[in-house]
């Protein structure tokens, strides 16, 4: 008997060109009938060497690259990097900046989760969800455009504050979002929560226990779906989050359905935080006054000699950061996004390490799907919410 005939399993390539893998992810599946015996994710198709590129860039020139990692939540990525550099330099940002950043990153979380709920439901058969979710997402994208002039790659945050002041109709636009998105969420819940097909495809599927989730390093909604209470915003507050009241939704069973419930509840909590941030937003400058690190206002550059010198020096040389290494973790929509920046005292990062939530969460995929059905792999990939730009960097 030949070797081929003795094999009881069949290998199947899922991806890299497959719409349900949310990018160029390849999973090599070993199948015994319809049961998955072994799953091996293959990544790297989108590796662009962002960590390496950052080593040859001035600090403020790294910010646009961070947008391109998790392109569904650009502002969270900006925030993580800016906070890390601010920590390294020891800069305190104005109160208004803190509120504006919290408001915008929470809306970013809603935006990212809206894409997730749309595509995830599409993957497992609920076609119309995608259109509804993108309808609400458009409102947040419009807000982005009003703030930064860009719809997706915003690069709106700067080291020390924001690139420009908030637009005049910021209040009005956020209020519209706060009014319309909850109505949308209600619709989605009516469509999905008690939907028989959706429940059958998700309940008890791709389960992961709390101990395994911690050991696999899962963070974000994927971890909280298993009932582990770890949210960076609560555990180690950053950027003014200690001032806001919100709850951390937790799941029980650690299956796809619980992760779905956690994300839906998280959207509501995020809108609650955004509302508090909008109401409490104080007046003040949109960027900290730190000569030598933050660009001076354009009027001053044209009229004052000192400002002109600082402007020239910042553009050509940047600023020298003190020697040392800092880590700043934030709660991005996908999980804990961390920036480890090591400085050797020069004007460029000696090493910038990104702790990508999608990469670490994806490494738990074999644990979730092995022993299950091949159709459930799609549900599992959707439920851990990966962005391949961030997985490969």
């Amino acid at each position: 008997m030949s070797v081929e005939a003795k094999r009881r399993t069949m290998s199947l390539n899922l991806g890299p060109q497959h719409p349900a893998t949310h990018g160029v992810l390849q999973v090599v599946l070993e199948l015994d009938g319809e049961t998955v015996v072994k799953a091996t994710p293959q990544i790297g198709y989108l590796h662009t060497g962002i960590e390496k590129t950052a080593e040859s860039k001035l600090y403020y020139k790294v910010i646009p690259m961070t947008d391109r990692m998790d392109y569904l939540a650009p502002m969270s990525n900006n925030l993580g990097f800016c906070l890390a550099v601010e920590k390294l330099l020891g800069i305190e940002v104005p109160e208004k900046v803190k509120y504006a950043r919290v408001c915008l990153t929470e809306l970013t979380r809603v935006m990212s989760h809206l894409v997730w709920v749309g595509t995830h439901a599409l993957d497992i058969g609920a076609m119309s969800m995608l259109l509804y979710a993108f309808r609400e997402r458009e409102l947040i994208i419009d807000l982005y455009e009003a703030c930064a002039g860009q719809r997706m790659m915003t690069t709106y945050f700067r080291i020390g504050g924001l690139a420009y002041d908030l637009p005049k109709d910021f209040d009005q636009k956020v209020k519209e979002i706060l009014k319309k998105v909850p109505e949308g969420i209600k619709d989605y819940e009516r469509l999905l929560n008690d939907n028989k097909i959706f429940r059958q495809r998700t309940i008890g599927v791709a389960k992961i226990s709390a101990e395994d989730a911690v050991s696999c390093g899962l963070t974000g909604p994927s971890l909280r779906g298993s009932g582990v209470n770890y949210d960076v915003r609560k555990a180690l507050p950053y950027g003014g989050y200690e001032k806001f009241g919100f709850e951390v939704p937790l799941g029980k069973n650690g299956d796809v359905y619980d992760r779905y419930l956690v994300r839906m509840e998280e959207m509501k909590q995020s809108l609650k935080i955004a509302k508090q941030a909008l109401e409490g937003m104080p007046e003040g400058p949109h960027i900290a006054h730190v000569p030598g690190v933050v660009l001076p206002p354009k009027e001053d550059v044209l009229t004052k000699m000192e400002s002109l010198i600082f402007h020239f020096k910042l553009i050509t040389h940047g600023f020298d950061a003190p020697k040392g290494a800092v880590y700043q973790g934030i709660e991005s929509p996908k999980g804990e996004l961390g920036y480890y920046i090591s400085s050797d005292g020069s004007n460029k990062p000696h090493r910038m390490r990104v702790r990508p939530p999608s990469f670490v969460n994806l490494s738990a995929l074999p644990r979730m799907v092995e022993g299950g059905m091949v159709a459930d792999v799609i549900a599992a990939i959707g439920s851990i919410d990966i962005v391949l730009g961030e997985v490969d960097r």
Partner: protein, 171 residues
């Protein structure tokens, strides 16, 4: 909390500690590489500290930096305690151009991929790792791109085109 960890480290691993660092309120310990697994295990399993969450493993290359002469590479373990809501760092300096260090795969499943990434991009070997193969760069790329001496200009990146060892066919 800082005091508690300091006391724990001093009591159990006084020979293994090289120095303690406290930059910007981040507590980190530089330890000798022989003590790594014992320290990680001790911190993970201690009833009081419970550093049961390995958030990240990352690496640095101090090639060409005259101030950092004691060991070229640095591996950083980012630990978090769910019980105490506290983050700390364990750092290890490694000598030589082809360094080796023990794997933490037996303590955390997440170490598997994180160590593979460090091996792929920085070329630090984790002894005892069950599956230490490349993860993000192409199979036939020669070298480890995150090293400081990896050529960026003038030289084109070298590829082996798999001439010498064709990749294993997945069955």
């Amino acid at each position: 909390m800082e005091e508690k960890i300091r006391k724990f480290m001093q009591e159990n691993f006084s020979d293994g500690i090289v120095r303690e660092d406290d930059f910007r309120g981040q507590q980190s310990f530089y330890i000798r590489k022989e003590y790594l697994l014992d320290v990680l295990k001790g911190l993970k399993e201690d009833e009081d500290l419970r550093f049961e969450f390995l958030i990240d493993i990352c690496s640095l290359d101090w090639h060409g930096d005259s101030e950092e002469a004691n060991g070229r590479f640095e591996v950083i373990y980012n630990l978090f305690s769910l019980k105490n809501k506290y983050r700390m760092f364990i750092k290890v300096r490694l000598e030589g151009d082809n360094p080796e260090i023990d794997t933490a795969c037996e303590l955390w499943m997440t170490a598997n991929w994180l160590e593979r990434e460090v091996w792929d991009l920085m070329g630090i070997k984790f002894t005892g790792h069950p599956n230490l193969i490349k993860i993000v760069t192409p199979d036939d790329l020669v070298g480890h791109p995150l090293r400081r001496d990896f050529p960026l200009t003038y030289e084109v990146p070298r590829f082996s085109w798999n001439k010498d060892d064709p990749p294993e066919v997945i069955l």
